[in-house]
Amino acid sequence: MSSRVSSLQITQQTEGFNVRLKRLPPTMIIGGVILIIFLVIAFTAQVWAPYPAAKTGTGRPFENPSSKHLFGTDQLGRDVFSRVMLGTRIVLTLSLSSTLLATILGGLLGLSSGLIGGWFDQLIMRLVDIMISIPFLVLALLIIASAGPELSGGYFLIILAVAIVYTPRITRMARSVAIDLKTRDFVTVARARGESTLSIVWHELLPGATSVLLVEFGVRAGYAPIFIGSLGFLGFGVRPPTPEWGLMISENRSAIVSAPAALFSPGLALALLVVGLNLFTDGLARVLGRTVRPGA
């Protein structure tokens, strides 16, 4: 008897899931498929990539695409197809970890700032204003310039720079949610129960802020590959011979006449990843009943 009930519940649940899957916005499904492909490449490329990323002399320099080198070769005769595929993991790791760090930091700071109010809120908001008043790329370059030589070219510095640029923007967003929520009864009750500030942020505010933070995460993550690629293109990203796409585009610029595939294939990969992330976020925002504001 009991097993029948539970199986009934399960069918109901799966039906509900199917219905919801059908109602998912098409943008979310297309974006999701693109993201899954990139994730699969990121996790498996080590196994099937034809050549190691840094192996030089796999062909002549600046070869055009052929069956042996699908995207041609670069200046040092490295296989561009292998480098683009193997670079997927690096770009995804850098983009997602920096955005995640910023969302956690900004979420906690913004929610507690809005909840506590007073001078603490004033202080945090003025700091946010200062950080936002410096154009984001200039701020990132300032952070990179201030780091010592032992940090430059490392993953840590790039993640830190992107996270520091994103955090104040997310903080502002989270704060406005906290201000909206903090006058509600459940927060008043929690306060009356004598819960600590951190506990109220965690148990009472975070559930209400989840959808805002998720969409914010998606929007920022959608721009992060471009941001990180820009730093790589300028020469402030990861060190060569790491196959980061922005760095590859900058390295292969001299191929623009003889082997343009070496230059444009990392650009295409970057654009596809960003399209995937943006479509998925757009769908997610619709499911959660929010609108995505580009830019800002």
Partner: protein, 317 residues
């Protein structure tokens, strides 16, 4: 006192305070955080006397707050000191670069406004039809392409395959004004694409909303020609909320210019900043970062003032 003037004055005051705080942050990040500048510039092998002489010349032996005040009082008068690498006066090095960057930014902005209005109007008038869909697909593609990919594509199409424009935009060598314009065209178009992508969609949505309003229907029923209705009745009202994005884009321009200049090797503030970060040339980094932030904060301030002035509720109060 009039409430509008009061609000505007308080915004100006706030902007000055923000700029002051930003200058502290920039000074701290470029000069205090990296540690011993003397050792970094002169190398580890430098003798203690040489380092000491270097510190004295740059006032590095003074306390931080004194150094900041000396730097700030110079900066206000346009004197940013000397570059560490070239020993030249910074205002002399940065001045022409700033002029070039402003030239590029102005060119891009002049292209950007009419292109955005044109594309958005076409989109809104052909709503949900193939032309509208094609334009929104194009904006989606543009949205996911970074500046350095768009710029490189443009070089590939218009400089390598069809040599209409030069690959590098060395405007220092331009023979005439029109030669400089020709050199700056591709970088300006790159910036225009990136900015237009953000605002075409928004202006289109505003325009559609306005086109469905009663007063536009009234104008149509009055028998006015379609173009008159669109350009003189609908567009002005759709533009006002979009102006905010346009001003924000002006602020973006100042940052995005760094990458575009690098793509085209354009001798502007951006390439200078990248070079200075490579050399860890703190005085140059400070000067450019402060200048760029000043432009950014002023652009935001003017947007603020404009929206205050265009808000009738504040005007009557």
């Amino acid at each position: 006192m009039n409430i509008v003037i009061k609000t505007i004055l308080s915004r100006v005051f706030l902007a000055i305070l923000t700029l002051l705080a930003v200058s502290m942050f920039i000074f701290w990040a470029a000069e205090v955080l990296p540690g011993d500048i003397a050792a970094r510039v002169l190398g580890r092998e430098a003798t203690e006397e040489a380092k000491q002489a270097f510190r004295e010349r740059l006032n590095l032996d003074r306390p931080v707050h004194e150094r900041y005040l000396i730097w700030l009082s110079g900066a206000v008068r346009g004197d940013f000191g000397h570059a560490l690498a070239s020993q030249r006066s910074i205002s002399e090095v940065v001045g022409p670069r700033l002029k070039n960057t402003i030239f590029l930014a102005l060119y891009a902005f002049i292209l950007y406004v009419p292109i955005t209005v044109f594309l958005a109007t076409i989109s809104a008038l052909n709503r949900e039809r193939p032309l509208d869909n094609a334009i929104s697909l194009l904006t989606l593609i543009g949205l996911s392409l970074p500046e350095f990919v768009i710029g490189t594509l443009l070089i590939y199409i218009f400089a390598v395959n069809n040599p209409i424009f030069p690959v590098m935009a060395n405007v220092q060598r331009a023979k005439s004004f029109w030669d400089a314009v020709r050199m700056t065209t591709l970088p300006a178009i790159t910036l225009t694409i990136v900015m237009a992508v953000y605002s075409v969609r928004m202006l289109r949505d505003n325009l559609i909303e306005v086109l469905e309003s009663d007063y536009v229907r009234m104008a149509t029923l009055k028998g006015l020609p379609r173009w008159r209705v669109v350009f003189f009745h609908a567009l002005p009202n759709a533009l006002v909320p979009a102006l905010n994005t346009m001003a924000l884009n002006l602020a973006y321009l100042i940052g995005g210019v760094v990458i575009v200049e690098q793509v085209f090797v354009y001798p502007g503030l951006g390439t200078q900043l990248v070079e200075a970060v490579f050399l860890r040339d703190a005085p140059v980094i400070e000067a450019i970062a402060l200048l760029v932030s000043l432009i950014y904060i002023s652009a935001n301030l003017f947007t603020d003032i404009f929206s205050i002035l265009s808000n009738p509720r504040l005007r009557t109060g």
